[in-house]
């Protein structure tokens, strides 16, 4: 097999990003239509009272989506969007591994480890 170049790797990553972004936009858009049809007036954002409990965890959001809750659907799209940079880093680890570039497999795996740690530490 010919060498897997940086350019090919970046094009693959670019395609993945386009799919991820389109999918999340589609979910947010669908949730948005549901939300605007049921909304009566613009909510009060001047005072902070934090979002509902079920919108703050992945499990809660998925439960909400099963109930066709508009806010949960938007939140699912946002979660998909948040996942795109994470998947991008994972694809870099894989891409550098295919190039047998040990240095950059290490570098991108380290970034992935820090990223996972802060995502998990934040969710707790």
């Amino acid at each position: 097999m010919a060498e897997f170049t940086d350019k090919e790797m970046e094009i693959e990553i670019g395609q993945m990003l386009r799919i991820g972004v389109s999918l999340s936009a589609l979910v947010v858009f669908a949730g948005g239509i549901l939300y605007l049809r049921s909304a009566t007036g613009a909510p009060d954002y001047a005072h902070f009272h934090a979002t509902a409990e079920h919108l703050r965890t992945i499990a809660g959001v998925l439960h909400g989506v099963a109930r066709f809750d508009a806010a949960s659907m938007i939140q699912l799209g946002i979660l998909l969007l948040i996942a795109t940079p994470v998947v991008r880093v994972i694809l870099c680890v894989v891409g550098f591994a295919r190039q047998r570039d040990r240095l950059y497999v290490g570098v991108s795996a380290l970034v992935l480890a820090i990223l996972t740690y802060s995502l998990l530490a934040g969710a707790r």
Binding site: G14, A25, Y35, Q75, I78, T84, V86, D101, L103, G122
Partner: protein, 278 residues
């Protein structure tokens, strides 16, 4: 105001935020936070949650074009991301220990100074002729398309750039916003990378850094769906437009836009620090 007209207004603002965010490599938050907080009177915590969504949307929305054109550099981005994410962890740890008002004010002054020094140097700085030994070892080099054809570049002052990136990460952990400016400045001014490579690589990095803190903000209830929906859709659209403009526009024009935006960001930081918003 009805929910539809509120969403439409926020959507319009977000399109502009996405264009500017993709052009400058700073992400949509630069526009989103002040507009939501000052014009729409949105609480700063909701504004920061929306800003986080907008930064990831800008980063992922513009990335496809930057990758295709060969502008962003994945190795340089990934290498520097180690410093930024570690810095962000330190910043999050420090939030409880230091006064963020003063940090915001100092950061604002630094931005105004950087705007001044960027402004003095009109076009791109000359590409370094001598490859830097450390940069070669770490493969922090590449080539990108210019009017004069494919041009090669190699990073300079790698340890300094890495150090500034660590600082940028700490700032983003502490303040939640604004670290994109430091990333562009570190690559452009310290590492002497071409300006378009700096902004597009920063565009890659801000998405990863923002994703790292997304868990915290989501769990604290800062990300409100009613607000995030128009912001995300608007910024995505804007960033796709912005990325197409960046590919064609002259470096001098791009730098002018960048300087104007960081002057505004610097003033915003000083204002927020003084009024105790941050």
């Amino acid at each position: 105001m009805s929910a539809s007209s509120f969403s439409a207004l926020v959507f319009g603002t977000s399109v502009v935020a996405g264009i500017l965010g993709a052009l400058t490599g700073l992400g949509g938050g630069v526009v989103i936070v002040p507009v939501l907080a000052l014009l729409f009177k949105v609480d700063i915590r909701y504004a920061i949650g929306a800003s986080l969504v907008s930064v990831i949307a800008t980063s992922s929305g513009a990335a496809a074009a930057y990758v295709r054109e060969g502008l962003s550099n994945v190795r340089i981005g990934m290498f520097l991301e180690v410093a930024t994410t570690l810095g962000a962890l330190l910043g999050a740890y420090l939030t409880a220990k230091v006064s963020s008002h003063w940090i915001a004010i100092i950061f604002g002054v630094v931005l105004l100074y950087s705007a001044y020094s960027s402004y003095r140097q009109k076009g791109d700085h000359p590409t370094a002729a001598v490859p830097n030994a450390l940069a070669e070892k770490l493969q922090l080099r590449g080539s990108y398309p210019t009017d004069a054809g494919e041009t090669t570049y190699s990073a300079q002052h790698v340890p300094l750039g890495f150090g500034i990136m660590f600082g940028a990460g700490t700032l983003s952990g502490l303040l939640g916003i604004g670290s994109g400016a430091v990333k562009v400045l570190a690559m452009d001014q310290a590492m002497k990378l071409p300006f378009k490579v700096s902004t597009t690589t920063s565009n890659f990095m801000i998405g990863v850094t923002a994703a790292a803190s997304a868990g915290i903000y989501l769990a604290r209830g800062y990300v409100d769906p009613g607000l995030a929906m128009p912001v995300m859709l608007g910024v995505l659209g804007g960033s796709m437009i912005g990325s197409r403009i960046l590919v064609k526009v002259k470096v001098a024009t791009l730098k002018t836009v960048f300087v104007v935006v960081i002057v505004a960001l610097g003033a915003e930081m000083i204002f927020n620090g003084m009024t105790g918003r941050i």
